[in-house]
Amino acid sequence: MRTVRTFRTAVAVAGALGVLSLTACGAAETGKSNEAGGDKTVKLTVPSWVGAQANVAVAKHILEKELGYKVKTQQMGEVLAWDALSKGDIDGILEDWGHPKEEKQYVETKKTVVKGGDLGVTGHIGWYVPKYFADKHPDVTDWKNLNKYAEEFRTAESGDKGELLEGSPDYVTNDDAIIANLKLNLKTNYAGSEAAQITAIKKYAKEKKPFLTYWWTPQWLNAQVDMVEIKLPEYKEGCDADPKKVACAYPHTPLQKFFNADFAKEGGEAAEFLKNFKWTTEQQNEVALMIAGEKMSPEAAAEKWVKENEATWKAWLPKK
């Protein structure tokens, strides 16, 4: 009885393994798209922040309406997007804030990703306080005076120190090192997502409470909540080389485009168009604000912008 049962289990297990190994009889296609519901299309990643969504929405609109492509967009984390770009799961990243490690691995070593030039927008990360607070205490904008105001930024989370509100873990931050190295009486509080951070900022702003936050431009919320940047020790090339010893501000980063190597070579008009795609911070903000502030759908916002700015985007189209 017992042996019969063992035998039967063994047969069942062997059967299951057999089915699995049947699928493994030949080498699989490696470049196959991992996307359900798509055919021959341009695939772009949609990062989680609105500015980058504006890029994608406008590019998508023009690719579909003017060049006759089908555009698939996929939302994912930044580093995951790099990985997907290398595998060919997506064709392009339109806005990258600097990922030196990935750039080295994929662009230089594996050569599966190529640079796509400037987006035209300059990004900058920094520490910000609301304007209503800076107006009352103008000297707060110098980092040397931050300890004086630390008490004002105190919350239940930060205990007896001032709170520095942080955002999504996706974004580059040296703040813990900066605080330690500048001997500031502050403590980081990780909101954990951009949505949570924005909601928290809006909440503070509504009650006109003082707050100190890790923040960046371009960002659509800047049009709704006026914020002033704190002057940290000036950024110099290489001062952020050792992550533990950073004691300086963040650089001004010209945001970059990156493409899958095969797409850049064989992507035809779509690749050429995306390489030409370049606009200003103001233009991006205009679309971003329509999406986030007026709660228009990205498609509608892109359509409106494209209609009003024909001269700008005509220059991006491939020369015939």
Binding site: A28, V50, E78
Partner: protein
Amino acid sequence: MSATVTTVSKAGTAAGDARTEDSGGLREAVRRRRKLLTGGGVLAALLVLGAVLLGGGGWPAGLTADISGPLDAANDWVVDNRDTHPLFLYFLLHLSNTATDAVDAVYQGLDALGWLGVTVAAVLVAWRAAGLGRRGLRAAVTALGAFAVCGVLGMWDATLLTIALMVVSVAVAALLGALIGLAAGLSDRVDRALRPVLDTMQVMPAFAYLLPFVLVFGTGTPAALFCTVIYAAPPMARLTALGLRGADPAALEASASLGASGLQRLWTARLPLARKQMLLGLNQTIMMALSMVVIAALVGAGGLGEEVYSALSTTDVGKAFTAGLPIVLIAVWLDRTTAAAGNGAGVPAPAGSWLHGGRAWALVAAAVAAAAAVRTATWPEAWTYDISTPVNKAQEWITANLTFTEVWAREFTLWVLNPLRDVLVWLPWWSVLLLVAAVAWLVGNWVSAVTATAAMAAIGVLGVWAKSLDTLSQVLAALVLTLVLGFLAGVLCARAGRLERWVRPLLDAMQTMPQFVYLIPVVALFGATRTSAIVAAVVYALPAVVRITTQGLREVDPAAVEASRSLGASTRQQLFGVQLPLARPALQLAVNQGVVLVLAVVVVGGLVGGGALGYDVIKGLSRGEMGLGMTAGIAIVCLGLVLDRVTQRTSRTPR
């Protein structure tokens, strides 16, 4: 078993175990007291010894082993060899491509049916599966309502993509679960070997293994599919095994004596007898798979999850809610249908009806074919209605008018969370281990004590001791809140039947609505703080606790309650003197489930300011830092094992 949208898959087993144990009676109580005394004595002695020998403080740095280095190395190896190594070319990529093709095929099929075809199919299948008649009618109306609302909300395409992913992942998970359950149901040895594996899978938050899957399969459908399968398969396996083991021995004996061979017996007696349990397993599997929809979107699965996720970037609660509601509705539709099918199993079709068996199925197929022949495409744009603006308005009104929440959050953090965390971190590491061992031994047996202590020690070895204790303090606070609220609501529901019926859709929604939808309102009310994380956890874990409590109180022997009433006990006395003590096994199960569920949302808590382990997992996932993410993920699993062992009563004493 009632038709509930619940992830309580252990309910059947654990409640059964606990009930048999109760008959132990007085001897059991005496044994317990003696155990308590010895345990206390040994603990006190060890505490003194530890204080003298080991001193205080957190986990000693010398006893840690950093595993993030090798993990990061493995990460790089996979990235470098993904396109060339035979393991990928000849095996994993096949899996990945098959997964994509399967989901794509189902999606194309649904798309070709058109909205009329899909709706007709859903309604009629619900009607037939729920057993025709009145019950079938109710399931059919639910299905119709669910699909109509999905269409009206303008979420038709996203809903179809989500359903396609669900169909494939539930099919694979159910098959896998049934096979494992079959093995565990037929062989004691397999059962013993699998039990700890299934236990671990149950406490493991999905975020913890999202990362390796993304690494191997890349972002997109395959990674999402496989994660969902892993998450959803255990209840099917557990309940299949339970059904096979619980089969009436008399029926099996009868079948054996009629000369049936082993295989025949399996097909004609054991499996049919286990059918009800297996359908319950399927029901649980579907619910667990659905709860993964948004998490799957984090790795690029598309569908409703992506809609919710993208609404977050503009902090658009209305849009997130619009996408979250279809998820709830699909859950309710599938739950009611499978639960009605499970309840109806074995009940003969209404006598004299010509509509039974194959004929009804043929009718369903014919009607679907006819509806598909109409060739409707996607849901017509004109029939949609945008609810996001009113929802946003309501949200703003609530957050503007409920100002006391912030004060509460502040006081709660200052007077409960901070002291709790500080005490836990201050406790010498060895005393935490001893405490865990003692509690696990008192609640369970020495096996659970050893498991729990080993898991706690593993956390220390991983080098995330302080962070884990921070998370633990949040989990404990959330658990206490959940239990207080859950027991209160459960008692109320058990006493007033009408209230329960009224609350049920709310509980369903709380459990299946993706937490991402209410993240923003929660932050707007409580700020980006640990309190927000705790509120999210309480909302998620509360329904299960309420349900188990209600059911436990209901199942108390009415004769006992009647007896106490005739002896002149007041309502209060009846409740505290009779009902609650008799429902103790159910209450203990509620505690255990509460722990598991609260822990499951720790990672989500990291998104709203919970920090600690949850934040590390998200950071690891979104930045591709395998070492950081996996270490935190493993620590959460260990924490889950500890909490599970110290709350789960086992009647299995090792022999």
